[in-house]
C-alpha cells in the first residue's frame, strides 16, 4: 500500500494505473496497462482506421476483479484534491482486498484523469464504462465535471458514485444512476452551521464566496438558514473564480459586520486568506470559514497567524484530538496521515482531510451495496442502485470513520455530522459537533420514482 501512496505522491507517470490486491501485482498491472497504451499509440500511428479495441485481460471470470472506474482530477484546478482522493481510494481498495474483496472478488481501481474538465469527464466515464469494462464509476469532486458526466453515466446505465459535496444530486438535476453516499452536500453543511454561527458568533453576517455555482449554493443555503435563526446576512460579496488578488473586495464588508463567513476554492485560496488578514489587521470581526478556503494548505504559513481564534467548518477534523470522531485513528493511519493531517512521508504535504473521507466511505458503500445486491456483474447494476437506495442508517465504524450517516434513498444524498473547529496555536481544535438532524432539509426530488 505504501508503495502505491508513494507512486501517487511522485506524480505517477502511469495514468491508467490499476491497483489490485497488493503492491506486487499493482506494479505489474501498471506496466501492463502502460504497455497497452503504448501499443495502442503505435497502432494509431500505423493507421487510424484500424483502431484496436480494448485489449482484454486474460483472466478467469470467477476470480476476475470488480473494477471501480475512478474519475480523478489529476490535472486542472482540482489537482490538489485529486491527489488525496487518489491516495484514500487506493488505501480503501487495499483494505477491502485485505478483508477478502467484494463477494469474494478482488477490487481493482481503474483511474483516469479528467483534467477537471466536464467534456473530458464525460469521455472518461464512457471510457471507464465501455472500454475498461468497469462495474461502477466513482470519485468525481468538482461539480461541473459531475454535471457534464452524469448524463453519460445515466445513458450508459453505470452506477455513478460522486464525492462532490455539491447540491446537484439532491436538487434533482441528475438521474437515478448518480448517487452521493459518502459526503454531505453544501446545503446540508450550511444548514447545520447556521445555528452555531448566530448563537455563538453573531447575528449580522457578511459572506464572501466564489462567484460560481458552488458559491451560489452557499449563498442560497446560508441566507435563509441565518434568517431562520433570527440573524441577517447584511452583505454578499461574490468574487470571480479566476481572481488572484482580493484586497479590493474587502472594503465592501460593512463595518457593523459581526461575523465574516468565507468560502473560497482554487489555487488562489492562500492569497485570499492572507490578504483578508492584512485587511483586517488588529480589528477583525468574528470569522467563520469553510475549510475549503484552506484545504490542502498549511495553517502555519506566515501571514495566517491572525486566524487564531477564528472558526472553521470541517467535514472531518484535520488534527487528531480528544473528542474527534471515534474511528478517526484507524482511518488516519490507513490513509497515511499524521496527527496534523499531513502526509506521514512529508509533513508539508497537507491533505484534504475535510473532504477525502468521502472517498473512503463511498468505497465501503459500494462494497456494502454490492454485497447486499449479490452483485455478480454489470447485469446487476440496477440491483446495486436499489440496494444503495435502501441503505438508510449507517452507523459509525471503520467503514464510516467520519461518523454515523443516514442515506436518503429518495434524494440519493447522505447526511452526517458536521464539525466546527477553532484555530488555537496554529491548530484546529474541535469545538462543536453538529448532529445529523441539523443538516436535514425537505426532499427536493424522489429519484426512486424515475425509471432506470
Amino acid at each position: 500500500m505504501s508503495e502505491n501512496v508513494k507512486k501517487s505522491a511522485s506524480g505517477g507517470t502511469a495514468k491508467m494505473e490499476t491497483t489490485a490486491t497488493g503492491a506486487g501485482t499493482s506494479s505489474l498491472l501498471t506496466r501492463r496497462t502502460a504497455l497497452k497504451g503504448l501499443a495502442g499509440l503505435g497502432a494509431a500511428g500505423a493507421g487510424l482506421g484500424a483502431m484496436p479495441g480494448f485489449v482484454p485481460y486474460i483472466q478467469a471470470q470467477s476470480s476476475a476483479p470488480i473494477k471501480i472506474g475512478f474519475q480523478v482530477h489529476r490535472t486542472g484546478i482540482g489537482a490538489a484534491y485529486g491527489r488525496w482522493y487518489d491516495r484514500v481510494t487506493t488505501a480503501a481498495a487495499t483494505l477491502i482486498n485485505e478483508q477478502g474483496g467484494i463477494n469474494g472478488r478482488p477490487v481493482e481501481i481503474v483511474a483516469e484523469d479528467d483534467g477537471t474538465d466536464p467534456k473530458r469527464g464525460a469521455e472518461v466515464v464512457e471510457k471507464l464504462a465501455t472500454q475498461a469494462g468497469c462495474d461502477v464509476a466513482y470519485g468525481t469532486l468538482f461539480s461541473h465535471v459531475v454535471m457534464g458526466s452524469a448524463p453519460r453515466a445515466g445513458e450508459l446505465k453505470i452506477p455513478y458514485f460522486v464525492v462532490s459535496e455539491g447540491h446537484h444530486v439532491a436538487s434533482g438535476a441528475l438521474n437515478r444512476w448518480t448517487l452521493q453516499p459518502g459526503i454531505c452536500d453544501v446545503k446540508s453543511q450550511v444548514s447545520a452551521m447556521a445555528p452555531y454561527i448566530t448563537s455563538t458568533l453573531g447575528k449580522k453576517v457578511t459572506m464572501v464566496y466564489p462567484d460560481y455555482a458552488f458559491g451560489h449554493d452557499h449563498r442560497d443555503s446560508l441566507v435563509p438558514a441565518i434568517q431562520a435563526q433570527g440573524g441577517e446576512v447584511i452583505a454578499q460579496i461574490a468574487i470571480p473564480p479566476t481572481e488572484t488578488s482580493f484586497t479590493k473586495y474587502f472594503p465592501q464588508i460593512p463595518r457593523d459586520t459581526e461575523v465574516l463567513y468565507h468560502v473560497m476554492v482554487g489555487p488562489a485560496v492562500l492569497t485570499f486568506v492572507k490578504e483578508m488578514g492584512e485587511f483586517f489587521g488588529p480589528s477583525r470581526p468574528e470569522i467563520f470559514g469553510f475549510i475549503d478556503s484552506l484545504e490542502a494548505t498549511d495553517l502555519t504559513n506566515p501571514g495566517l497567524e491572525y486566524l487564531d481564534g477564528t472558526y472553521f467548518w470541517e467535514g472531518m477534523p484535520r488534527y487528531a484530538q480528544e473528542g474527534g470522531p471515534q474511528f478517526d485513528a484507524f482511518y488516519r493511519e490507513k490513509v497515511g496521515c499524521d496527527a496534523n493531517g499531513a502526509s506521514v512521508s512529508d509533513p508539508k504535504d497537507i491533505s484534504t482531510y475535510a473532504h477525502m473521507f468521502g472517498c473512503w466511505e463511498t468505497m465501503f458503500v459500494i462494497k456494502a451495496g454490492m454485497e447486499a445486491a449479490g452483485y455478480a456483474g454489470p447485469s446487476d447494476r440496477q440491483k446495486l442502485i436499489e440496494a444503495v437506495e435502501a441503505m438508510g442508517e449507517m452507523p459509525a465504524s471503520e467503514m464510516h470513520p467520519q461518523g454515523a450517516k443516514i442515506f436518503n434513498g429518495k434524494t440519493h444524498q447522505v447526511f452526517g455530522p458536521q464539525y466546527i473547529s477553532k484555530v488555537e496555536g496554529g491548530k484546529l481544535v474541535l469545538q462543536h459537533t453538529a448532529p445529523i438532524e441539523a443538516g436535514m432539509y425537505p426532499d427536493e426530488v424522489d429519484y426512486t420514482t424515475m425509471s432506470f
Binding site: G11, R74, T75, G76, I77, A79, A80, G82, R83, D211, A238, I239, P240, T242, E243, T244, S245, T247, K248, Y249, F250, P251, Q252, I253, R255, P267, A268, V269, L270, T271, E278, F279, F280, G281, S283, A296, N301, P302, G303
Partner: protein, 312 residues
C-alpha cells in the same frame, strides 16, 4: 468603508497590479515591436519565472539554511536569467525556423504554451506553492476627515497596505527606468530600435538580426519572469497562473498601441488602476466584460491604440 478610503485602497491595489503588469506587458510589447510577432506563450514565461523563483528560494532557504530575504534576492537574479535562456533557446529552435511568420509564430507559441505548462505540471506538480517575502509589514494608513474641529486625521478600518506591496511598486518603477535606459542609451537598444525600424536595412548595415531577435525574445521573457518573481510572495506559484497575465498583457499592449513602449506603460497604469477602482462601482465580472469589449473596440476603431500616434 467610506468612499474616500475605499478609493485609496483600490488605487494602491491597482498600483501593485499596474507595476507587475507594466513589466510583463513591456516584454510582450518589446517582442512585438522588434520582431513583429505575437508571443502567446508569454504568460508561461511569467509562470516559469514564478516557479523558478520557488525552486531557487526553497533551495537557498531550506537546503542552504539562508534567511528568506536572501532566497528572494537570489531568485530575483537567477529566475529571469534562466527564463531568458529558455526563451533564447525557444527562439532559436522554433521561431527562427518558421521565419517569424506572424501566423505560424502564433500557432507555434500556442504549442509552446502547452509544452511549458504541462512540463511544469510534471516537474513542479499541481499545487500552488508560496514563496516567503523578504519582508512584510502591515501598514495602516490614515485618512483625512472634515470633523467638528476642522480637518482631522483618522485611521479607517481596513485601510492598509504592506511594506512588500510598496516595494513591488518601487522595484517596478526602477526596472522600467532601467529598461528605458537600456533601450535609449546603449548599443543594444540602438540595434534593437534599428531592427524594429527597418529589418532589411539593419541587416544591410551588418546588424546580426537573428541574434538581435533571440536577444529580444529573451529580454521579453526575462521581463515577464522578473514581474513574476516580484508578485510570487503575494500570490503563489502555480502551473496555470500564466493565463491571466497573458490576457491582461494583450489588453495593455493593444490599448497602448502595438509596439509602443511608452503607450504600454501608460496603458498598464490605466488598466491596473481601473481594475481596482472599477470594482468599487461594478460587479467584477461585468467590469471584465466591459474591459475586453473595450479592447476589441479600440482595435476596431482605433487600431493604433489609445496612446499610439501612428498606425501599427
Amino acid at each position: 468603508m467610506d468612499f474616500g478610503p475605499y478609493l485609496l485602497l483600490a488605487s494602491l491595489e491597482g498600483a501593485v497590479l499596474a507595476a507587475v503588469l507594466s513589466l510583463t506587458a513591456l516584454g510582450l510589447s518589446l517582442v512585438f515591436g522588434v520582431m513583429r510577432v505575437v508571443n502567446v506563450a508569454h504568460g508561461e514565461f511569467f509562470m516559469l519565472g514564478a516557479v523558478a523563483s520557488w525552486f531557487v528560494a526553497t533551495f537557498v532557504d531550506e537546503t542552504l539554511g539562508a534567511p528568506a530575504w536572501l532566497g528572494f534576492a537570489v531568485a530575483l537574479a537567477v529566475a529571469p536569467l534562466a527564463v531568458g535562456a529558455f526563451a533564447w533557446a525557444a527562439d532559436r529552435l522554433v521561431l527562427e525556423r518558421v521565419g517569424y511568420d506572424p501566423e505560424r509564430t502564433i500557432v507555434a507559441t500556442i504549442g509552446l504554451l502547452y509544452i511549458v505548462q504541462q512540463a511544469t505540471l510534471m516537474g513542479f506538480g499541481p499545487d500552488a506553492r508560496p514563496v516567503q517575502p523578504p519582508f512584510n509589514h502591515r501598514l495602516a494608513l490614515p485618512w483625512i476627515e472634515w470633523g467638528e474641529e476642522g480637518l482631522a486625521l483618522y485611521w479607517p478600518w481596513g485601510l492598509s497596505t504592506t511594506s512588500y506591496k510598496l516595494f513591488v511598486i518601487a522595484a517596478a518603477v526602477v526596472l522600467l527606468i532601467a529598461v528605458w535606459l537600456v533601450l535609449s542609451r546603449t548599443r543594444l537598444g540602438l540595434v534593437m530600435r534599428a531592427t524594429q525600424f527597418d529589418r532589411e536595412t539593419a541587416q544591410a548595415f551588418g546588424i546580426p538580426v537573428d541574434r538581435v531577435f533571440a536577444m529580444t525574445f529573451a529580454i521579453g521573457a526575462g521581463l515577464a519572469a522578473i514581474a513574476a518573481v516580484l508578485i510570487v510572495p503575494i500570490q503563489q506559484a502555480h502551473y496555470l497562473m500564466g493565463g491571466d497575465p497573458l490576457l491582461l498583457s494583450f489588453i495593455v499592449v493593444i490599448i497602448g498601441g502595438l509596439g509602443s513602449l511608452r503607450g504600454t506603460v501608460l496603458a498598464a497604469l490605466l488598466i491596473g488602476m481601473s481594475d481596482g477602482i472599477i470594482s468599487v462601482f461594478f460587479s467584477p465580472t461585468l467590469a471584465k466584460i466591459l474591459a475586453t469589449l473595450l479592447v476589441a473596440m479600440v482595435l476596431v476603431f482605433r487600431p493604433q491604440g489609445l496612446f499610439g500616434a501612428r498606425p501599427a
